[in-house]
């Protein structure tokens, strides 16, 4: 099996690479590339993302044909794709970080700043928080409800259709921290930084 981590200059992806390689051992090939043909021929794709919504969308658009290839992979061919952090946020129609920016539009909704209740809550939301698993998702197989995952973000994805939500977390409000729509998976938290329980999420995705 071939799993491709999309390398599109979205910031620091070494931890994502390390964690997938740790889980894959020698059984699964982990490729790190923006090569369109390699992405097309992959069995699964991971879309990481760090920095701002706008910087990640810009970086995707800077690689000619990449968005089309991802659309073909995830929407037309319905192959499994996992978005992490801003990778998940980009599923939305639109994001409001820095400036209004169009997203991939795979899951209707918007990405807006977490309400910090006039400074009562610190932003970014950094650290370990419990997830409330709200629906059976293949990536949460064998993972207990209320497990701790590592978060670092100031913006949240607000999907229109609440049925896509697979987990939430409690901060200044109830924040969507995982979505699943058909073959498309996303986590706002960082499984690659969530110790053994995070590696389990990665393993689950590889086994989807």
């Amino acid at each position: 099996m071939n799993v491709t981590i999309v390398d599109y200059n979205s910031g620091n992806i070494s931890s994502v690479i390390n964690s997938f390689k740790e889980v894959a051992k020698d059984k699964v090939n982990i490729n790190v590339t923006s090569d369109l043909n390699k992405i097309k021929s992959s069995d699964k794709v991971v879309l990481p993302g760090q920095g701002s919504f706008k910087s990640c969308v810009d970086a995707l658009n800077n690689i000619s044909g990449l968005v089309d290839t991802l659309n073909e992979f995830a929407i037309n061919n319905k192959k499994p794709l996992l978005g992490i952090c801003v990778g998940l946020q980009m599923f939305a129609d639109v994001g409001f970080e820095e400036t209004e920016t169009k997203g991939l539009g795979w899951i209707s909704g918007k990405v807006s700043k977490i309400d910090n209740q006039n400074g009562k809550y610190k932003l970014p939301h950094i650290g370990w928080n419990e997830i409330n698993i709200t629906k059976d998702s293949e990536i949460f197989k064998g993972i207990k409800n209320k497990s701790h995952m590592y978060f670092v973000h100031s913006y949240e994805f607000v999907p229109e259709d609440k049925n896509v939500i697979s987990a939430t977390t409690e901060y200044s409000s109830n924040i969507v921290c995982s979505v699943e729509k058909d073959n498309i998976f996303g986590t706002q938290f960082h499984p690659e930084k969530s110790d053994m329980i995070g590696l389990k999420v990665i393993k689950n995705f590889i086994e989807v």
Binding site: N18, K21, G51, K122, L123, G127, E170, K193
Partner: protein, 250 residues
């Protein structure tokens, strides 16, 4: 609910772990990769490496340490010490660091913080503030606590937030190495004047000091000696905090 973080810190010199008393008199004690793995297996919420003498010496050893550690530890790894430029930050992130802490360079040129947080995201930019009490409050020092700057710590903290820092790592130089507890007043003042998380550092000798650190408003507590010399394990620290009704990940 978001949990308070416990961050064991390893001071690294020439690829080996050391822990200083008031920033001098270093004692050698161990391999950082092995030590980091013990911490992450023990429930550390993050790991921090401080390359303490990096400002003066060859620092290539730290890259190797970071690279090895990031392949074994799957919790966030912060690396600081001698970080001068966007290039340094890029190199550390590429080796597997998740966050980079900037001290001297942030004071000398705040544009490093602005540019790096824009380029890599605020989430990986930590500004380390070394502060010492003076008549009017606290003054920040650079170069591992060697050089006074005349800059007020509170004003600097506020400025760094505006520049895009994702977190502040605040070390009391008066307390560091004394094991007499954090400078609680400093932590309170800084955490209440910024909206980004503050990591309290410098002075932990007992588990009650960690409790006091969290109660001061810090989002995370950093400690070196108590973990490094085995006085307490990370797990013992967490159990203790939990027994004091402080939410931690267990």
């Amino acid at each position: 609910m978001l949990k308070n973080r416990i961050i064991p810190c390893l001071d690294v010199k020439n690829g080996r772990v050391v822990k200083g008393i008031n920033f001098v008199d270093l004692q050698d004690a161990g391999d950082p990769v092995e030590q980091a793995k013990i911490y992450s297996d023990g429930g550390a919420d993050e790991i921090c490496f401080l390359d303490i003498t990096a400002s003066n010496e060859n620092r290539d050893t730290i890259y190797e340490v970071v690279e090895k550690t990031s392949k074994k530890c799957f919790v966030p790894l912060t690396v600081g010490g001698g970080v001068r430029s966007i290039d340094d930050i890029n190199k550390l992130l590429n080796c597997g660091a998740d966050k980079v802490s900037i001290n001297t360079a942030a004071v000398q040129n705040s544009k490093v913080v602005e540019d790096s947080s824009r380029k890599f995201g605020s989430q990986c930019i930590v500004v380390a503030i070394d502060a010492k009490r003076n008549e009017g409050g606290w003054e920040i020092f650079t170069h591992g606590g060697r050089n006074p700057t005349g800059i007020n710590a509170l004003e600097f903290a506020y400025k760094m937030e505006k520049c895009g820092a994702g977190e502040l790592l605040v070390t009391s130089m008066d307390k560091d190495g004394t094991q007499s507890g954090y400078d609680i007043e400093l932590m309170k003042k800084i955490s209440s004047s910024v909206n980004i998380p503050v990591i309290a550092s410098g002075g932990v000798g007992t588990l009650d000091h960690l409790v006091d650190g969290i109660k001061s408003g810090a989002s995370a507590v950093l400690a070196a000696s108590i973990f490094h010399y085995g006085t307490y394990s990370v797990n013992e620290a967490k159990q203790y905090l939990a027994s004091k009704d402080i939410p931690v990940r267990i």
